[in-house]
């Protein structure tokens, strides 16, 4: 607590911010006091109960409070560092895939090398996080670690890592499901080892960060400015990046994934009055510590007896999401210096219509192949006659639905990228795919074994609610791209928290959610296939009417206004379509919407430049990618099946990264 007072001394004394800081400190003190005073008591003889109580206090409760503070501080510091070097107000450990990488390493080690876990759980997770960042940095090294490219490939690698982790969990069944449940960031402690291992790391990290103050301040400038001031940009950025990764990976290793904290802490710090880099380096860790501490205390106070209602890591997003949304509505002007996203140039096709026809023919061939060829006891086989008729009932709907979902995702991604002028935009960033998950979760709370129509209704409502909430928040700023993305991330995290909390309670609901999360088309029947096809047609058909808007929207706002567009209304309508497209496709293939990110990129890099051609090519590519992924998902480990979203991201992700790099070189 006295840290907060020190922070007050460092920051400029604006009366309002001072009151806010005092209030935060008071809430922390009250929460800790309440937890200590109302700690559960073990029954039994008074002598035994007293001894257990002392043990609980000194070996469980106090270390837990310390871990909450230190882990929160580490993530806050990591977040502020990452945001600075990426020049991106929505950057945190998840943007770089650190948490997902660590989780994947733990999951894989559980299956492949349990002995490694026996030696050190921490180092397994740490190496996973480091490896993820090494991949991301390696991919962007030649391009001078361009902030936008780093964030883009970081999110791709992160998505792939979590998809792989889920696939391993599913392939191992109930046993490994535990890592997903238990790894959701519980702060429960039995001794001081975690606190003693995290605290020195944070102190060292803070010391190094204070020594790097000058480079950090300079990194806020653009590359040319920083270079002219005599800073080796790549070297400084790499150093800070390593430090930030080190901090957040150690937290993930020790207590699991604590989502959203690295994002929320710097924002809260800014609200509490921190402005300069020096202030941020101290205020962000304090804010992170306060947020995690209060969250964990609240969970302890709400949980009956000694059991955990929900892990703090998952719950912190429940508090963090609304906090960030509130901040968003209060923030005026620019959010730091968001990286201005420039699309890499690509050549233009000479005969785009022929190319489109070829693409369409390819999609048709793919669907035919997927229906006829499948796995069998003795390898792949071509089905004919009666057998084909029987199998068509199962293969037909899922292939068609996957194709339709891919088309809808591609269209949604296309709309969002055009609308925000931001190539990182995708249905997932909009928060709608996560919103459909929240809708499904709530449906499950009412109906334990919901039929598809109930699931679909819940998801559509959830997606729409997430989207409407986002619109309400960003309406104040006329939907500027930065705010839309930030609001989407906040709502996405809030929704995924609901999913995780219910998932971590296990049981049948958890199983239904896990299946949905993994994005399997296995359950698709004729009903879902028809829904997918009809909604794809209904939602995609009106899109050509938006062609003029879509051509103008990526330009800056002034240009749009000068050309006579009612910007707010255009964006509202387009966003509504994007949200509905996302909700429908998420119902079929789960929340892994990498297709929405990839398909428009690939289409553009193939040379489809005009709006309508670009849209058509995106849709065809999306349909082909997902239908193909669905086919492969049936074949690769027959009779077991891979989640289709996983395959789509494993194939599409690297391809996009490669294409971006290649085009850059050509240009």
């Amino acid at each position: 607590m006295h840290g907060t007072v020190r922070c007050g001394a460092v920051l400029p004394g604006r009366p309002l911010a001072n009151w806010a800081r005092a209030g935060v400190a008071l809430v922390c003190i009250c929460a800790v006091a309440l937890v200590l005073l109302t700690r559960p008591q073990a029954p039994g003889s008074t002598e035994l109960a007293a001894r257990l109580d002392q043990l609980y206090l000194w070996h469980s409760l106090l270390p837990r409070l310390v871990v909450a503070i230190v882990a929160g501080a580490s993530l806050g510091l990591s977040g502020v560092l990452l945001q600075r070097i990426l020049r991106n107000p929505i950057a945190d450990a998840s943007t770089l895939g650190i948490a997902s990488g660590s989780e994947l390493a733990l999951t894989a080690a559980l299956g492949l090398a349990p002995a490694a876990l026996d030696v050190s759980r921490e180092w397994v997770a740490f190496s996973g996080g480091i490896a993820t960042v090494a991949i991301v940095v390696g991919l962007n090294w030649r391009r001078g670690l361009d902030p936008v490219a780093v964030a883009l490939s970081g999110m791709m690698v992160g998505l792939m890592a979590s998809a792989l982790a889920v696939a391993i969990i599913l392939a191992r069944g109930e046993y490994a499901m535990s890592i997903f449940i238990w790894g959701a960031g519980s702060l429960a402690q039995q001794d001081w080892s975690t606190a003693l291992s995290l605290a020195p790391r944070f102190v060292v990290g803070l010391a190094i960060a204070s020594m790097l103050l000058r480079p950090l301040t300079l990194l806020g400038l653009d590359d040319a400015g920083a270079s002219s001031l005599g800073l080796s940009v790549n070297f400084a950025r790499l150093g800070v990046l390593t430090l930030a990764v080190w901090l957040s990976a150690s937290v993930t290793a020790e207590v699991g994934v604590i989502g959203f904290l690295g994002l929320a802490a710097p924002a809260i710090a800014r609200m509490l009055g921190a402005r300069t880099m020096k202030q941020m380096i101290f205020a962000a860790p304090l804010s992170g510590a306060a947020l995690l501490l209060v969250t964990d205390c609240a969970m302890q106070l709400l949980s009956p007896g000694f059991s955990d209602l929900a892990p703090a890591g998952a719950t912190v997003a429940l508090l963090g999401g609304p906090v960030l949304l509130f901040l968003l509505s209060r923030l005026r002007g620019a959010l730091g210096a968001p990286g201005r996203i420039a699309a890499a140039p690509a050549r233009e096709l000479r005969r785009p219509h022929l190319a489109l026809a070829l693409l369409a023919a390819g999609v048709v061939l793919l669907v035919l192949g997927a229906v006829v060829i499948g796995g069998g006891a003795d390898g792949w086989m071509v089905a004919t006659g009666r057998l084909l008729e029987d199998l068509l009932v199962f293969r037909g709907p899922r292939t068609v639905a996957a194709g339709a979902a891919g088309a809808m995702l591609a269209a949604a991604g296309f709309l969002m990228q055009k609308m925000t002028g931001n190539p990182v935009a995708s249905p997932e960033v909009l928060g709608v795919s996560a919103g459909t998950g929240a809708g499904l979760t709530i449906a499950l709370l009412f109906v334990p074994f919901p039929a598809p129509p109930i699931m679909l209704t819940g998801m559509a409502l959830g997606g729409l609610a997430a989207f409407l909430m986002m619109l309400a928040i960003s309406a104040q700023s006329r939907f500027s791209p930065e705010r839309l993305l930030l609001a989407g991330v906040a709502i996405g995290a809030f929704s995924m928290t609901l999913v995780t909390v219910v998932l971590s309670s296990g049981g049948m609901r958890g199983f239904v959610l896990l299946t949905w999360l993994s994005g399997s088309t296995n359950r698709v029947g004729a009903f879902e296939a028809w829904i997918a096809v009809v909604s794809a047609i209904a939602l995609i058909a009106p899109l050509p009417f938006f062609a003029r808007w879509l051509a103008i929207l990526p330009l800056d706002d002034d240009a749009g206004r000068a050309l006579g567009l009612a910007l707010g209304r255009c964006r509202l309508l387009i966003a509504l379509f994007a949200a509905l497209l996302t909700a429908m496709s998420c119902f079929i293939v789960g929340p892994l919407s990498l297709i929405g990110l990839v398909a428009p990129h690939v289409a553009r890099l193939l040379g489809f430049q005009r709006v309508l051609q670009h849209l058509a090519a995106s849709i065809l590519l999306g349909a082909g990618l997902l239908a193909g992924a669905d086919w492969l998902s049936r074949l690769i480990i027959y009779p077991y099946q891979l989640p289709v979203g996983l395959l789509a991201s494993l194939v599409g992700g690297p391809y996009l990264i490669w294409l971006l790099n290649r085009t850059e070189k050509l240009a």
């Binding site: 257990l52 069944g173 109930e174 429960a188 074994f449 296990g506 299946t515 099946q641």
Partner: protein
């Protein structure tokens, strides 16, 4: 505790010898109605009454978690329980598919392959043991296997025999748990198959709180302090480093059950199983407790 665990590995074989006599191996028909199922509880029931099982889900994991009964070589693997492979099911050409409420969503799709019948073992608020019995009897009737009745009666007799052998144990309650990591466990309530077996063995379940579909997870290790007099029964599989880390924890070691040597590690048992899982759990538990009593 470790010593008990090692001895159990040796004893497990003997203990299950008794249970194995209940599985009418010789009766197992390679002819007769070809049955397939998605549900593990029904799978072990079918195998136990000697049905001609042609396809079932997640057999790799079944051998790890449920261990027994053995799966005959000819049974086709249908992949994960959450994503059963309908193509493989069609290729296995079953005459009948039995399913539980857990996988109800698949009924409509599977009915295109063969008739589907539902038998549920886990229904909120109902005893899984009683439902396991009715499922076994119903399946026996449907498949015309007299062995079902013998199996159900034999299981009751076996539990009764074990109850006598145990003689009420040492009067302490029992807390069957499944470790998730070194800080959390899954508890099993009165509506779990473990809870049912404890009641039939004349033992008290120390976990009194509400459960969701028979289990409750994740619960912090601190909750074990609420039952200082109970036996702690660890049911694998659990993560390898969980137990090692747990044994270093001051709180764990100070728990009366741990300090008093009242911790038993059994062999793996499927916590969502039917009669065979119940018998396996009962045998492992009674052997372990008798071992501990005799030092």
């Amino acid at each position: 505790m470790r010593m008990t665990g090692r001895r159990l590995a040796r004893r497990e074989f003997l203990a299950l010898g008794a249970a194995a006599t209940l599985l009418p191996r010789s009766l197992r028909a390679q002819t007769g109605v070809r049955v397939a199922t998605l549900d593990w509880a029904l799978l072990e029931t079918l195998l136990a009454i000697g049905a001609n099982v042609v396809a079932a889900t997640e057999l790799l994991q079944f051998r790890e978690v449920a261990v027994k009964p053995d799966i005959p070589a000819g049974v086709a693997d249908l992949g994960l329980r959450g994503t059963p492979n309908f193509e493989a099911l069609r290729l296995a050409a079953p005459d009948l598919i039995v399913n539980s409420n857990f996988y109800q969503w698949a009924n409509e799709r599977m009915s295109r392959i063969a008739p589907v019948e539902t038998h549920s073992v886990y229904v909120p608020g109902q005893s899984p043991y009683a439902l396991s019995e009715s499922a076994a009897l119903a399946l026996g009737q449907r498949l015309k296997l007299d062995s079902a009745r013998r199996f159900v009666d034999g299981a009751r007799a076996e539990l009764e025999r074990l109850r006598h052998r145990l003689g009420g144990g040492d009067g302490r309650a029992v807390m069957p748990i499944n470790l998730g990591d070194a800080r959390h466990f899954r508890a099993f309530g009165a509506d779990s198959v473990f809870g049912d077996v404890l009641a039939r063995l004349g033992l008290q379940n120390a976990w009194k709180e509400a459960t969701s579909y028979s289990a409750n997870a994740p619960v912090g290790i601190e909750a074990l302090a609420a039952a200082p007099d109970a036996w702690i029964i660890l049911i694998p599989p659990h993560p390898l480093d969980a137990l090692r880390r747990l044994e270093q924890s001051a709180f764990w070691n100070a728990l009366p059950a741990v300090a008093g040597g009242r911790v038993l590690t059994l062999g793996p048992v499927n916590p969502y199983g039917a009669l065979p899982a119940a018998l396996r759990f009962a045998n492992l538990l009674v052997e372990g407790m008798l071992d501990a009593r005799n030092g």
